[in-house]
Structures are given as structure tokens and as C-alpha cells.
Amino acid sequence: MYHILCIILGKVIVLIGKICKRGSSLPGLIVLKLDKHILESFQLPKLVIAVTGSSGKGSISTLIAKILTNQNYTVAHNKVGSNLTPGIVTLLLEHSSLLGKIKTDAIVYEIDERYAKYVFDAITPNYVVISNISRDQPPRQGHFDLVFEEIQKAITPSMHLILNADDPYLQKFALNHHGPITYYSIEKNQYSYTKNKFMNLNLNYCPKCNQKLEYNYYNFENIGDYHCSSCQFQKPKADTIITKIDYTHYKIVIDGTYTIELPHLILYDVYNTLAAFTITSLIGLQKEKICDTLSHIHKNKKLFHVFTYHDRIVTVLNNKNENSSTFNQSLLYVSRYKEEKTIVIGWKEISRRYQFDDLSWLYDIDFELLNKLNVHKFVCVGIHRYDIATRLKYAGIDEKTITVFDTIEESTNYIQQKTKGNIYAILNFDYVEPFQQAMKESDAS
């Protein structure tokens, strides 16, 4: 009875929150204070999909929710950011009856990699997509092995895992898992390479026998076609495969048949899209319709944006500070373009969560990829401009081509007046909008 009272109260708070247009986690937070076992009071629909991992969980879960909705499912889905326990409770309150029965056909939720263990027990997913485990927020997370252990605690054999076959680190889940697993993969393509380009990989040794891993090709960092130099461990056979990537026409082809138009050109977008395709086709949705939905999703301006300034193409690449993989993907992307260019790197603050000046992750990023490119100027901007400039220097970049600015406005003035070529802005998400605004405003005037 107490549970039901809490749910009713929770729903009232959700309603008030909606009227006042206020925060998403607060109702959950209040109800959890009153009843810490509230999660157990909800009756779930037949389909529950959870998405976790270091990056991409927000995008993947959003794609899955959209695909389901377009194929006539009603879906409860948490918005990006509300991915801790209170956010999940709020989501359930929003979609439940007064007795706690979830009224939608499906729940699709993204869950913080450290909170899965608190939520999976009660809101047990049938399917779990684990996008990746990368170097991410070391002061908060410690490191990737600890994140792996946290997620592992939440996984039970009843859960069907959806994993990237190309990522050997995720195989650590497979080695322990007694339930079903479905894999996806990007086949060797024109952008694959055979000599490792990245110095600081998370896994160089076989998770089964500790011998060195060998690669037939790489798609990125340690993602590719791997096998152990000693035991039978190797990349598993994938169930869904991207057989063609055509970056020039913004298209990918899955299993030789299904074409998806991609708004984004970065590898993580391709993998996120593939993950969403894999899980939704696995549960029996129509593949043509899935492709249709994925192709029509509007460009997420915040994630990635291309525009022109006079006759110069400006490409804004969104990154996460303290996550070297996102920067490495941007650098790999930029390194494909051979024309004269200006490169901008910067952020407002390292983290919204804490005030530490941990800059070690800057040296996990292979800025060395930039040092043979045709770059007119490197522009370092923001609070750590000298740390960024120093990092570029030790990547072998000529100090004379590096300039530093305190603010976005100073940097964009300089970029517009003193630099040449197309502009690639490799920014933390907190500088993406200010940079675009500053560039576009002066273009309009």
C-alpha cells in the first residue's frame, strides 16, 4: 500500500514538474527518499531494452525509441542525461498507472554504466546494448576495468546482450555470459588500416590467456578484426554487418541489402546506428522501415555540424573532455582530409561535475595524427589553451603555427581574419554552440 501511495505522490510531483517545466530527475529523487525499493513496485511491459556503456548510450537509446515508435509501439524512454536511478524512477512514474503498471508497450532506457547494478534487478531488461567501455572521466570512473566490473555486476544470464564484435574489450562480457549474445560489426572497408595508429589502447592482450592480440585490420583504436596470437580467442562472427561505408554519399549498407543514409560521418555514429539496427531487427521489426526511420532522423546539430563561412567549409566536431576516444575519432576524421586547413581545439571547462585540472587524458589523444597534415594554423582556445598548445608541440607540430586565445570571440576573429583553408573545430560539447554562434554571427554582419 505504501508503494502505491509513493507512486501516486510521485505522479503528482511529475505533474507539478511538468506544469512548472522543471527537472526530470527530481520526482524520482523525492520518491526514492520515501521508498528506496520503489523500483520493485512497477509492473513492466514485455519488452525492456537497456543501453549502457561509456559513450553513445543516449544516441543509441534515442534511435531505438524512435524506430519502435515508428513501428507503432508506445515507448517509455528517458531523455539524455536522466540516466541515474532517480531519472529512471521519474521515467517509470511518468508512464505508469496509479498501481504502478507501465502503460507503454516497451521501455527503452539509457543507464549510467555505474548505475546498471542498482536498476537491473528490478527493471530487468530483456536486452542490454553495451556500446563500448572507453577511457572516460578518469577522476570519476577510475578506469575502464572498474567500469567493466560495475556493469558486469548487473548482468544476469536472462539478459540478451548486444555487443560490438569489433571491440575485443567487450568480449570480456562474452567470456562470462551464459545467456544469448548478438553481435554487430563493420566489415573491412576503404577506411580500415593495418598498422595501429593509436598509442594508448585499453586492451593489447587476450582477455582469455594474456598473450598479445594481433589484427588483420583496424577500424579505430583497438576496434577491428583481432585474434589472439596464442589461443582460440578471436573476433566473433557477427549477426549484423555493415558491408559498405560510403562517406561521400553519406550512406551505409547493412548485410549487403539495407541502405541507411547517415547524417553524421564519424565512426561512432556509424556504430551507434548499427547497434540500433541490430537490436530492433533482432526483436522482429521490419528492416526496411528501420532503415527508413534511421535515414530520416534529423541532423543532430549539437553532435556534428557543417556550414560555410565565406567560401570556407567549417566542420564542428563534438567531443567529450576526459574521453580520449572521442577526440581520437575526430582526429582520424580530420586526418582523411588533405586540403589546407585551420584546426581549432578547445573547451570552456574540463568537466561540469568537478573542478579538477587533470590533463593527463590530453596525452592519451594521438594529436600526432595531425602533424603531417596541411595545416595553416592551430588555434587553441579556452582556459587550458597553453596545455593544449603544449600537447600539440609534443606531437611534433611546429610551435610557430600554434596560436592561443582566452575566449571564443578572440579566436573566431583571428580565424576569420588571419587563417586560411577549411576550418575543423575539435571542441568539447560546451564550446560547440558558442563557436558556431560566433562564426555565424560575424558571417551575417
Partner: protein
């Protein structure tokens, strides 16, 4: 003059930007006109400590540290000899734990037993900015910690005295191990780049050990110094 550097376990002890330290040494030694040869060595390799002037090991995950521990144990005699002879060792993050008596994690593991201390890896992590002093240079050392290890029975001379942050154990101001040219610290990442004075000090020591009359050119560390000053300025504003 050629300086031989061994970056040991580069593919396992590579957790927090560890590769920056070797990059810093290479560039600054080369700017002084010194040739630098770096060998990246790991599990498949035999290590000849006597071949090198400078040994570097960085921080790794606890699991990788255990792999490395097994591999490095047979080298105890050679490493001890190298330290006694005054060869340079820069050891950052939890790599320093390899040099103590033992490491207690889920089990107790024998370590190199070159120094007295023992390490216990706790469930919590010690995370945060560090400001410290050292007798080697006049300017304070800046850096970051992110570790699970806590030391006890430390009898060696510390490398740093902590002003902000945590020493070898909570509430202890001593941090790191300094013996001859062995420089070991729990600080992570590119500490040489973030501390240009310390980088200069080490580069000078390395060269002078080979040629005491070497004429140094001016060091070009403008960007590094600006980054350092920015940190100090922010640190003062915060405290």
C-alpha cells in the same frame, strides 16, 4: 652523446597519458643536441637494464599491473644494481608499487622488494590535484593522483612533500621515493611536461652524468611555463 631510454610496459602501463613523459625527455634532450634512442619494451621482450641510461614505467590498471609484476620480478638483481649505479628511473602512478615488498590486492603478491614499503590496494580511490615541494628544484610540483594504493612502512627518502593532495597514505605529507637517480611518485600522467623546471632538472642531470662539462643551450619551454603558471594562478584563486 646518445641517451638510451627504455619505456617499459608501454602497452600495459599506459593508463593516464603516461607516454607524455618520454616525449618530453626526447624533445628536450634533442634540443640540447643529444641523440635519443627509445626502446619500447614489454611482455614479449627481454630487458637488459644495463643497456639504458633512463628507465620509464607509467601507471596501469590493477590487472595490468599484476601482469607486469610477474614479468618484472626476475629482474630484481639487475634493477637493484642499476639504481645503485645511479641509472635514471622515472616511475609514475601505481608502477611505483612494483618496487616495494608486496602488493596486497585481492591476494598478497610479492613485489620486487627493492624498497621497504608495502602497498595495500583499497576499494576507494585517491583522486585529486596535487601541489608539492621537492628539494630538487625551487618551484612547486603540480600534478594529479588517481590510485587505489596506500603505502605503509616507508623508510626511504620521499621525492615530494605534499602541500595539497595525499601523500603515500592518507594524512601523510611525504610522497614518492627518491634514491640516487630513482624518482618514483604516485603522480600520474605527463608530470615532466606539466613541470617544466623538473623536466629541465632531469635533462641536465642526465646529460651531466655523461659529460660534466656539457654546455647547455637555453631551454625553450615558453608554452609549458605558461600552462604551469596558469595552473598555479588558478590554484591560488581556489585556495
Amino acid at each position: 652523446m646518445t641517451v638510451h631510454i627504455a619505456h617499459l610496459y608501454y602497452d600495459l602501463m599506459n593508463l593516464y597519458g603516461e607516454s607524455g613523459n618520454v616525449k618530453a625527455l626526447k624533445m628536450q634532450l634533442e634540443e640540447q643536441g643529444v641523440k635519443v634512442k627509445i626502446d619500447f619494451l614489454t611482455m614479449q621482450d627481454k630487458i637488459h637494464f644495463s643497456d639504458y641510461d633512463f628507465i620509464y614505467i607509467g601507471m596501469g590498471t590493477e590487472q595490468n599491473q599484476q601482469m607486469v609484476l610477474k614479468h618484472i620480478l626476475p629482474y630484481k638483481k639487475e634493477i637493484t644494481k642499476a639504481i645503485e649505479q645511479g641509472k635514471f628511473f622515472l616511475i609514475t602512478g601505481n608502477a611505483i608499487e612494483l618496487f616495494g615488498k608486496s602488493i596486497i590486492a585481492n591476494k598478497k603478491m610479492r613485489a620486487l622488494n627493492i624498497f621497504h614499503f608495502e602497498t595495500k590496494q583499497e576499494q576507494m580511490r585517491i583522486v585529486g590535484e596535487v601541489l608539492a615541494t621537492t628539494t630538487l628544484i625551487s618551484k612547486p610540483i603540480i600534478g594529479f593522483q588517481n590510485r587505489s594504493g596506500v603505502m605503509k612502512n616507508v623508510k626511504e627518502e620521499p621525492l615530494f612533500i605534499i602541500e595539497k593532495g595525499t601523500g603515500y597514505a592518507p594524512k601523510i605529507v611525504e610522497e614518492g621515493i627518491h634514491k640516487n637517480h630513482f624518482y618514483g611518485t604516485y603522480l600520474i600522467g605527463p608530470i615532466l611536461i606539466r613541470n617544466p623546471e623538473f623536466l629541465k632538472y632531469l635533462v641536465k642531470q642526465i646529460i651531466q652524468q655523461k659529460d660534466s662539462k656539457f654546455k647547455f643551450k637555453p631551454f625553450h619551454l615558453t608554452l609549458e611555463n605558461k600552462a604551469y603558471q596558469n595552473f598555479i594562478q588558478k590554484y591560488n584563486e581556489k585556495s
